[in-house]
Symmetry: C2
Subunit: 93 residues, 2 copies
DNA sequence: ACATCTTGCTACTAAAATCGTAGCAACGTA
DNA sequence: TACGTTGCTACGATTTTAGTAGCAAGATGT
């Protein structure tokens, strides 16, 4: 599973998740990702761009059409996460 | 997103994926995961067990009910991966 | 009883990934 | 020209993972 190996890297899923509502520039994206170090974030963005899942346009980094399709698949994961978080009494999402 | 941070660790997604068809013992699981090093695999399994997503029963490691629910959400991801793999002419899945 | 095999897992070192911080070059703005 | 913003690189410190060896406990065979 190449995809799982790719997405199983730090910030990969998170980036897709944070871009789901629209473009963010590098620094916005960074602070959205708990201030991930710029070196890793940049590397991950390169990889995601190679996958043509993310692109860098006028308005900043954004999901491509393919990326949005992939991002949509994360919604159920999020729903699951929220459910189990509630199950454990966690505060965050 | 605690979940994404958790799943964004080496072999986490992969373990869920490899257990989707039933229990595997430690060594089977390891070879299913490209012979991941036992130290990391074991650590990941501990974490997944803490999440009550994986458990260690008579037949080996297996998904819990919650785990199966989560695993089911990976199927669309796999479908997506297969599609894009075809798009790039990759051989593997 | 005894040796053998399997299984889950630990130990340990080397390599790789990530963190955390500083700061630069390019660009726009005043 | 001075100043702020943005995307990004550099680099040492820390954390994670890789890779290999092997042990303890239980099953199995003889």
């Amino acid at each position: 599973m190449v995809l799982l190996d790719m997405l199983g890297r730090r910030w990969a899923l998170r980036v897709l998740w944070e871009l789901r509502h629209g473009p963010l520039n590098f620094r916005q994206l960074r602070s959205a990702c708990d201030d991930a170090s710029p070196s890793v974030l940049n590397r991950r963005l390169s990889e995601l761009r190679e996958l043509t899942v993310v692109e860098h346009g006028e308005r900043g980094y954004q999901l491509t059409t393919e990326g949005e399709r992939l991002g949509a698949l994360l919604l159920p994961l999020d729903a699951w996460a929220r459910k189990t978080a509630r199950r454990w009494g966690d505060a965050d999402s």
